[in-house]
Structure formats: C-alpha cells, structure tokens
C-alpha cells in the first residue's frame, strides 16, 4: 500500500516537474494584444479581409500590416473599438457587396430543357450547362444562398438570388460557388450596373430572356466612354464618374440598371413586365 502511494506520488512529481520545465523552456512569446483583438473580431472566419481567418487578421492588425476597416463584418463601433485599442486609424474601407450579373428569373427567362438531376447549380451546370435557354444565365438552384454564411442571399419567387446590401460582407463565397461566374464584388457606390452576361448578339436573345442586353448601344450613346459595348455586352467603366443614371434611361430591356439599396431600378423606357408566373418553355 505504502509502496504504491509512494511510487505514484513520485511519478506524479516527476511528470509535474517535466511539465513545469516544458512550460518554461518551450514558452513562445506572443503579443497579448493578438488574443484581445481577436476577441473583438466577429469570429466568422469568412476571409473577406483577405486573411485566412480572424486570428491571422488579428495578428496582421497588431503587426501593423492591416487596418481594422478591412473587416467588413464588424460593426462601425466594433472597428472603432479595435482602432482605439491599437491606437491606429480605422482605415476607411469602402463597403463592398456581391452583385449578380443576371436578371433572368423564371418569369422573364425561358427554359430550353428540363433538368432533373440533383438540385444544385453546380451539378446542373455539368449537364450541358443546365436547363436555361440562355447559356450564360442564372440556373436558380441557389448554391449561392446555400454558401452564404451571413444569410445575405435569398432566392426570390422567380428563382433568382437577391443580395441584401446590408447583410453582405463581400466575403466572396458566392463568387466562388457560382458555376456561371455571375457574381462579382463591387463597392456599394457602383450603383450603375449591367445585370446580364450574355455575349449573344442582337435581338435573338429576347426569345430566351426578356431582360437581356441586346447590345443596342443606347446606353453607350447616352454616356460615351462611361458605357461601352464590348463583345455584344454593355460594360461600365468604373474608373470614370459613374454616379449618373443617364445610361439606364433608354435601355429597352432593363439590362442596365440602377442598384438602389432596396432593389434594382430600371430606366423609364424599359419594358414593364408584370408577369408573375413562369414563362412557358421555348417551342422546339
């Protein structure tokens, strides 16, 4: 009995000594502010700041490599708190959002084939590009809404994703997941936007989708330089002053739009579409 107690006590002491030594000798010096700053960050590990998680971003902040403004998930107050703690500028980072370059919901865009495999965009895109008539358009199975960690994307009644400007943190998950590469990240100030990616020429596209860009060039005429027609698609040059909704006014289909926080606004000459139901598939 005594032997056993003594042996175990001895072993315990020996191992405890080893642990104490290890703690002393293998100690890594770390800036204690990293842990504190990390606690002030939102712990979403979304990567929108460009670092592989909140911990790495906290290290960069403490090391002076980045400014708190890069974290688009934190609130304004949260960013200021970190900036105050570290004694640095907040770093005004323009808020960015994901924008979808397609407006072809089921009420305006036709299907050319019925797809009945697994209901994800990425699977559908493997089968001859999915069932949409337009080869470029949104497939509408909502992989982006699924991928979004911030519930910033919801699918509307026409199977088209709608991005909430307030909730979007521009983390880029939707950009990565979309098999048609329809999402791109923009500063919120980019209100003038072309919601179409079809490179098809001419009015033929209207048989597939009523809101596609037909490359008629009216927007380019109204705002020379700012909007250009490239490969049958209107392209906005955001390096120029783009704070004008002039180019959208004469767009006959409403492919070029003005993104208000509450939703897109079409020009006054855009065809009004009041259809609520689904467009019938194209005759074959």
């Amino acid at each position: 009995m005594i032997t056993a107690v003594a042996a175990l006590s001895g072993l315990t002491m020996a191992l405890a000594t080893l642990l104490v030594l290890a703690h002393r000798m293998l100690h890594v010096e770390e800036d204690p502010r990293v842990g504190l700053v990390e606690d002030m960050l939102p712990h979403t590990n979304c990567g929108a700041c460009g670092y592989p998680g909140c911990r790495a971003f906290a290290e960069a902040l403490v090391g002076g490599e980045a400014l708190p403004g890069k974290c688009t998930v934190s609130s304004e107050a949260g960013r200021e708190r970190i900036a105050g703690f570290l004694g640095v500028d907040v770093g005004a980072e323009a808020k960015r959002v994901a924008r979808l370059a397609c407006a072809g919901g089921t009420n305006v865009a036709r299907r050319r084939a019925r797809y009945d495999g697994p209901a994800t965009c990425r699977a559908a895109a493997q089968v001859a590009g999915g069932g949409k008539s337009c080869f470029f358009g949104c497939l509408g199975f909502g992989d982006c809404a699924e991928a979004c960690d911030f519930d910033a994307i919801r699918m509307n009644e026409h199977e088209l994703p709608v991005v909430s400007e307030a909730a979007c943190t521009a983390c880029g998950d939707c950009v990565e997941v979309c098999p048609k590469d329809l999402f791109s990240l923009h500063p919120v100030s980019h209100r003038l936007f072309v919601a179409c990616k079809s490179l098809e020429a001419g009015d033929g596209i209207l048989e597939d989708c009523e809101v596609g860009c037909t490359a008629c060039g009216r927007c380019a005429q109204d705002a020379p330089g700012l909007v250009q027609i490239q490969s049958n698609l209107a392209v906005v040059d955001y390096d120029r002053d783009h704070r004008t909704d002039l180019p959208i006014q004469r767009c006959p289909t409403g492919a070029i739009i003005w993104m208000e926080p509450e939703g897109p606004r079409k020009g006054r000459e855009a065809a009004k579409i009041i259809r609520k139901g689904t467009l019938p598939p194209a005759a074959t």
């Binding site: 084939a113 697994p118 001859a128 080869f135 490179l199 098809e200």
Partner: protein
C-alpha cells in the same frame, strides 16, 4: 471458343446492348443541312484560328481554320458554300463557343478540294503526325482528343503494342462496327501509318464478342506482312475505355494519374484509324464522319456519313422522330451528353445520336433514395474505386477528401455506378460536379503561387 475464355477486365456492367436495330444497316450519306454550324473548338485544347471572313465563298475540303499551337487542330469546310457568319454558337458543353456558320450551295457538286497528300511509302513519322494535325483528326470515339498529340511520343516511353479499339461497348452505337465491315482497307492503311509513327512491335484490333462478323472480316483482311492480330473480348461495359482495354489485353494497369503510354500501349479508336487511312493518302481533311442515329424515338434508324456541323434539328427532321421525343443524347446513353438544345451541331467527337421517348425516359426518371451501402457500385466500378463512399462525401461537399483519399480524379465517368445503383443516386453527376470544383480549386491554388500548390498531387 467458350465465353469464359475471352479476355476482359475486372468489374463492369451489362447494360442492354440495343445494337441489333442498326448494326445491319450500311453506312448511308446524309444530306447537307441548309446551314452548317462549325464550332472552332471541337477538340480538347485551344480553339482553332479562323482563316476565312464572313461572306467568303469556300470549297468543300478547304481549310477554314488553322491550329493555334500544338494542342489544336485544323478545321475544314464540310461543304462548298458561303461563310454566313463567324460568331458564337451553342455547344454540347453548355457554353457558347466561337464558330463558323456555313451555308452550302444547293447546286454545288460538292467536289472535295484536296490538300497535300502524305503517301505512306515516303512519309516520315514526323510528317505523318503533322499531316494528322493538318487533317484535323481527333479521337472519334467521343473524347475528341487531338490524335497528333497522342502520337507525339516522348523518346523515353517506347510503345510495344498498338491497340486499335473496336470494342464499341456503348449501347445503341454501331458506327465502329460498320466502319470495320465497310472500311477494312482504310483500317489496315491506318494501322500501317500508326505503326510507322509509334514503332510498336505489334498491333491488336480489339473487338467485343457481339461483333463476330466484324472480327472475322478484319481477321481475313489483315495482310501477312502486317504484325497485327484480332482479339475478341467479352461483352462488358466499359470494355472500350482505354484503361480497361489495356488491362484486358495486356494485363497491365495504368498507374493513377498516368497515361496509357506509361504502360507501353497506345490506344487508337478504329474509326480514327480508318480516317487516318482514308484521309492521309489523299491529303484530305476530316469534314464528315460516321455516326449512328438510333434509339426508340427515331423512325429511320441507321448509320450515316454526316457532314460535320449538321444541326441536331435538321438531323432529326431528316430521319423522322417520334412526337413524344423527350431526350436526345449526343454519343451513347451511358457516357454521352444530353443535348440542351436542338441547335447544337454534330461535331468531330459525336459518335451517335440517340433519342428516347417520354415513355422510355420515364424509367430513368425515378425517385432518389438514400444510399443503403449495398456495395453494388463498388462491384461495378472498373477503376476499383468506392463510389458509395464518394457519393456520401459528395453530399457533404467534402471535395478535397474525395480527391485525396478516395481517388476521385481517377474516375473517368463511365456511369457504371449510377447504372447499378438501386437507390437511383446520380453518382456520376455528383462526381463530375465534384471534379469540376476540385480542378477549379487546384487551378486557383496553382495560380496563387508554388507555395500554395504544394497540396496538389505529384
């Protein structure tokens, strides 16, 4: 010869062959469509560069586009006519690709303009490879891989066996069967060209046992001076896949991530070999090919020599199609692709058009149940993968694990697992989507820099 004595590979499945309706019908010439659509990318690799302009008159056989570098081939005019437009055209990949729209002249005699011949007697191996690229030849079995790339053999990888693939394991398709019966001299000529290039000791023409007439016909036609033989293989899908053929004929396994060439074997489709033998001596380019048009929804089933670029809509109008037609496949029903639109043209890689009615398609249109781990797919997979486990991982989107631990990238999408699955799980499609995701991620990692790509397999 007993059935069990025939060579084959491990695993595989037995889909209904459905070849009887067209295997007896001789190859017939298909008419010219009023507008031919010629995508500039009908092969794996870079798009060809157009050499014509809109409005230009072209002659059948004239080169329309030249290869853009090594991974690209020429494109020739399938008809005498006028170039209507150069622009985007729909393709089976589901993307719009650049293409040439050619309107044939109805009154033309459609004489073929010939290029520079490459006679067997004098041609060097390099000249033959160049002539094959110039002829625009790609693998006609369906993969559409440029043939000259396959034949550009590195010096450190000698080829001992040339395998001429006449297995044609895909249901409904009988093009290779008819080519072997009707173009035997071209096949023999093609083998001579190919042997000159690859310097193999022998050639084996591999034919499944359901084509005994073709096997006999080829056997009788092989000249004594040609080191070639015919090997009859057991009827099993996917016997015609390169790796399965090598395993069946030579007992060699192609290592993961390697090419058949690494085992000393070179596989060429029999239709490709026949075209080499037909086009090279004349200096022609490939501007038409043999396809099978079949399936329950087709009225005039058969084998046709069809101009490249014939749109599906015109094709179906000509052969007559059931009004209940529901699905149209380019290629066979196992590995072919469902056509997303009838404006899609026949390309060099299209080996057949198979159409099903609503009724016939209903059988595949079934409810999907969860995986019960019965293991049928494991028994079916010719690559000896574990489709069941891969399918479960695919549902959880664990794509990297699928690739790293379960050899996702070795899957060549034969569809055997989906075919046997009693729960109707669309396994192959899940794998295809997963492969696309993994490839995209690895490309991005590689683009990000060498340090980031260290996880990619060697």
């Amino acid at each position: 010869m007993g059935l069990l004595a025939l060579k084959t590979f491990r695993h595989g499945v037995h889909p209904p062959e459905a070849k009887d309706e067209t295997s007896g019908s001789p190859i017939r010439q298909f008419p010219f469509a009023p507008l031919l659509v010629l995508p500039l990318i009908q092969h794996a690799g870079k798009p060809s560069l157009p050499e014509v302009i809109e409005g230009q008159e072209v002659v059948r056989g004239q080169r329309l586009a030249r290869p853009d570098g090594f991974m690209s081939v020429s494109l020739h005019a399938p008809a005498t006519g006028v170039v209507r437009k150069i622009g985007l055209c729909p393709s089976i990949s589901g993307r719009m690709v650049p293409g040439i729209f050619l309107e044939p002249h109805p009154a033309s005699t459609q004489e073929v303009a010939l290029g520079e011949p490459c006679p067997l007697e004098t041609a060097t191996p390099e000249a033959i490879v160049a002539a094959i690229q110039e002829a625009g030849l790609v693998g006609l079995g369906g993969a559409a891989f440029p043939t000259h790339v396959k034949l550009s053999l590195p010096d450190d990888k000698p080829v001992d066996t040339l395998i001429i693939n006449g297995a044609e394991c895909e249901p409904y398709l009988t093009t290779d069967h008819r080519v072997m019966l009707e173009q035997r001299d071209d096949v023999v000529m093609g083998i001579r060209y190919l042997l000159r290039v690859c310097r193999a000791e022998r050639a084996i023409v591999a034919i499944e046992a359901n084509k005994p007439d073709a096997a006999r016909h080829i056997q009788e036609g092989l000249p004594d001076d040609l080191p070639a033989s015919v090997e009859v293989l057991r009827v099993k899908y996917p016997q015609g896949a390169e790796k399965m053929l090598i395993s069946a004929l030579l007992g060699r396994e192609v290592p993961s991530g390697k090419l058949p060439l690494d085992t000393g074997a070179l596989c060429i489709n029999v239709a490709t070999a026949a075209e080499i033998g037909r086009l090279l001596p004349a200096g022609r380019g490939i501007e038409e090919r043999v396809i099978t048009i079949g399936g329950p929804a087709i009225e005039h089933k058969g084998n046709y020599r069809i101009p490249i670029g014939t749109p599906l809509r015109f094709l179906l109008e000509q052969v007559g199609v059931d009004e209940d037609v529901n699905r149209v496949f380019l290629g066979g029903p196992m590995m072919g692709a469902a056509a997303p639109s009838l404006d899609i043209p026949i390309t060099k890689g299209t080996s057949g058009v198979v159409a099903f009615t609503d009724h016939a398609a209903a059988a595949t249109h079934r409810k999907i149940y969860p995986c019960i781990r019965c293991g049928y797919c494991v028994d079916a997979c010719p690559m000896l993968l574990n489709p069941s486990q891969l399918g479960i991982l695919a549902l959880n989107e664990e794509h990297e694990r699928m690739a790293d631990e379960f050899h996702l990238l070795d899957c060549f999408e034969c569809g055997s697992c989906s075919f046997v699955c009693p729960s109707h799980i669309p396994l192959v499609q899940q794998f295809r989507a997963a492969k696309a995701t993994v490839r995209k991620a690895r490309q991005q990692a590689a683009a990000a820099g060498p340090t980031a790509s260290k996880e990619a397999p060697a």
